[in-house]
Symmetry: C2
Subunit: 509 residues, 2 copies
């Protein structure tokens, strides 16, 4: 570390690298200065340049050398000493979610030419700076590093951005700017859009969702597996499936890892989870549908009752919510500054209601629906609000869905065939998990498939997989982007998919 | 826990559930007994059955009830007390990787009918038993629970296997049985094949590879991202890519997450990793090619030199190898009992040689090849053996590949265009990672694409993604199944892919 310290107070001289020049907070002044300098350009360029060799465009880094120099990250810049000087050009440096104010001031080691060069660097360029960290008298509210600014003595452009940007970060991060910069503009310029502190926070939170999902399940002896996405027969029936050319054959993209996680259970792995992309060729252009999304899937054998599984999943969500709340508080607040929402509430243990109870609550509040009708999206939303009012939770589990609205492999209720051993889980009134006890008996499975009009020929190998001893089991599939979106109270799933795919969007930059 | 203990020694009465009946170790005796019983069948069936209600076929578990009963896992069965009895039928119960010997003996609570029923249960059926755990005088070498056997007083079939099995677990797990049960038979009956203790161990080790990959990178501030598999243009050129029908468009399956992880870097995420399936439409029917495999990908911005990245990846592999060795020792030994191999050796820090040095070593040993020739598969294998002899390591890194053999986005060496800032990593002489510093400057990238004959029109958005400031960066992609295969010294990648896909295999059961 190239820190110099003297006993009279300490001066830190960090090298700064890979920073993005975000905005000239005093752009006007800088421009004025630039103009003044342009007028006197000839004089300036003829003046001796005391800063020569301390600024400029760096040659492309091609790993030519590896200097013995430690680079300080912006987040670690929080030092002490004050100092005063007249300065001439300042700007904001950004690195991931951290920002700092930087100055270049004419002085013994800094020439006018260097100041002019610095003022002219294109926004979003990546620069290396060397300078002194100085504390400030007044907090710099607009930067993450409030108490310190950087007095530059070297300024090098590592990678210059184009002079005109299709999207300005300071606009993209402003609260409620969705009307000004719409989702498509953002996605068409995703690289810039992802540089906002909001997006830097969102994808750290999404990584957290996966981490806490895995941590909890591994702790409970679940084994992580990896299953193929190219399959020979549509996993959830023929509709909404993408077809793939497989050498001379036709194949499909898996709509879920359903078959494979069940096979892992019948193969005696007892408890498994898998994280991977799943694909739905559904022409749904809504705020919550993607054609490809992150599936967090789990499946487990149980002893007596599928409620053993509901409890594990419910506790797993509590684990995820708690850890996001406690370990990613700063990120949640960052997102909240751009997109306001109420903090996510949950109960411990999780609230479980039956489908019947849910329908009753809706009917009591004016919704006209039959016992076994499927829940419409507005009804789901309303149910979420009613349950929030009544139980003060944004997360709940709805158990015992009507058999008619579930796939053929769902175990019917043992006493009443109107119902089934299946469940959905909801966050802020939107479904984020669908699951059930599966039929593990080949005869009942064939019978159910026939009743549902599924061609037995197509699912022969699936049915046969239960002929060598299969334990009772249940599980579920979770939409990763939905969990992140709804935990943060966001309004569009494209905000939580780094490079989203929908019927109209097949590429992201 | 339904354990009864008395001061005279302690008797454990565990309930056992979800166990698979593996083999009747004393099948002959059992059969003899069954025959004897059959002869006296009429008498037996007329005898009063003292065991009535304590054995039989259980009704399908449909979550009817949830008795307040704790089920003991087989692995936890290690108790004390001895006891002696004359017994009549014994078999082996298996649960994941654990096995135990169980007996059903005629006595005050066990009828001849019950013994007969037990002897007739189909292999691989799932059964619940209740009984006393008893220590044995002589170690039961054939079972994982050496010191204890189970004296059953209740035997219930939860799920009966078909009477004839296409594959016997005891055959499938025998050392060097690949000639008897070939890979295709195994994969055609994957559910049974996966029940071997060997496979139970292999997929726990593979889960470990992913866990330690993630643990190390998260510790080093890498962020996990998820990237789309359906893409609008082939990521690594047009060859070997699967096509997908995307509504009215044509799309492709990603051959790697290359473009997207680089975009995450230019979007200022600094260090990212992603785990997901990748797809290669390559008609290669070899021991180490799959058309779909688990990709462990990482990418990071660096300060001065791509060797910063090589060091991180090298240390990451050491972290993986050490943790597998230390935490999954039992699983490694289990695999070794069926497939013999030398323990995997590695150095700390990892050995890095240049391509030139590798070629020199090969030439010194009789291989005829030019400086810039690509390594053939046999040459790679030989190099692995030579390096093992010389340096005593099964893992090494080969740095500075000829530019000609690498993709257009590889950074050329800054001083000699014959070479490039790229590297491969090897385990037991087979490539498991390919990586490089990437070209982060749009002009050089266009120039390199032209030189390689890549159509600039197809990669416009990729090139444009570097126009808004891009840090120097490097990374690599790892084949998950190859790491597991080569760590264990296995001979076929189909042994480490739970449900493998190759040009000839599109389904697993």
């Amino acid at each position: 570390m190239e820190n110099k310290e003297n006993s009279s107070g300490g001066e830190n001289q960090p090298s700064k690298k890979g920073l993005k020049k975000q905005q000239k907070a005093a752009e006007k002044e800088a421009k004025k200065e630039a103009r003044k300098q342009a007028q006197g350009e000839q004089q300036v360029s003829q003046e001796e340049d005391v800063s020569k060799g301390f600024y400029g465009n760096m040659p492309m880094i091609r790993s030519t050398e590896r200097p013995d120099r430690t680079i300080l990250d912006l987040k670690d810049l929080t030092p002490s000493l004050k100092d005063k000087k007249v300065w001439q050009c300042f700007f904001v440096l950004r690195q991931q979610k951290w920002t700092i104010q930087a100055l270049v001031c004419v002085g013994p080691n800094v020439s006018k030419q260097m100041v002019k060069f610095s003022a002219g660097i294109n926004k979003e360029s990546i620069i290396d700076v060397e300078g002194f960290a100085r504390t400030v008298d007044q907090k710099i509210e607009s930067c993450s590093q409030h108490d310190v600014e950087l007095h530059c003595e070297q300024v090098w452009v590592v990678s210059s951005a184009a002079p005109r940007l299709p999207l300005l970060i300071e606009d993209a991060v402003r609260p409620e700017t969705d009307d000004v910069i719409n989702q498509d503009t953002r996605l068409d310029n995703r690289i810039l859009d992802l540089r906002t502190t909001t997006n830097q926070a969102i994808y750290r939170i999404e990584a957290g969702v996966c981490k806490y999902f895995r941590d909890y399940l591994m702790e409970k002896d679940f084994i992580e597996i990896h299953v193929p996405k190219i399959i020979s027969a549509a996993s959830e029936g023929g509709a909404n499936v993408f077809t793939v050319s497989y050498f001379k054959d036709k194949a499909y993209l898996a709509q879920s890892p359903q078959l494979y996680k069940q096979m892992a259970i019948t193969a005696d792995f007892d408890r498994v989870f898998t994280i991977g992309q799943v694909f739905r060729a559904e022409d749904s252009n809504t705020h919550r549908h993607l054609t490809e999304f992150g599936g967090l899937d789990l499946e487990m054998a149980f002893k007596f009752h599928y409620h053993e599984v509901i409890e594990v999943i419910g506790d797993m969500f509590v684990h995820i919510f708690k850890n996001l709340r406690d370990n990613l508080q700063e990120e949640i607040e960052t997102v909240g500054r751009q997109y306001k929402s109420e903090p996510f509430k949950f109960l411990e243990p999780s609230l479980v209601l039956t489908y019947k109870e849910g329908v009753r609550l809706l009917r009591d509040n004016g919704v006209d629906m039959g016992d076994e009708d499927d829940l419409s999206t507005p009804a789901e939303k309303l149910l979420g609000r009613l349950i929030k009012q009544k139980y003060d939770t944004d997360f709940f589990i709805l158990d015992k869905f009507p058999l008619a609205v579930r796939p053929f492999y769902t175990m019917p209720d043992p006493t009443d065939k109107k119902w089934s051993n299946s469940y959905d889980m909801f966050m802020r009134g939107e479904e984020i998990l669908s699951g059930a006890q599966r039929v593990h008996c080949p005869d009942l499975l064939s019978e159910r498939a026939k009743e549902k009009g599924v061609d037995l020929e197509h699912i022969k190998s699936y049915i046969d997989s239960f002929r060598y001893g299969a334990p009772p089991h249940a599980g579920g599939g979770i939409g990763m982007e939905r969990v992140t979106m709804l935990f943060l109270g966001l309004d569009n799933i494209r905000k939580t998919s780094m490079f989203p795919r929908d019927p109209k969007r097949l590429s992201t930059p």
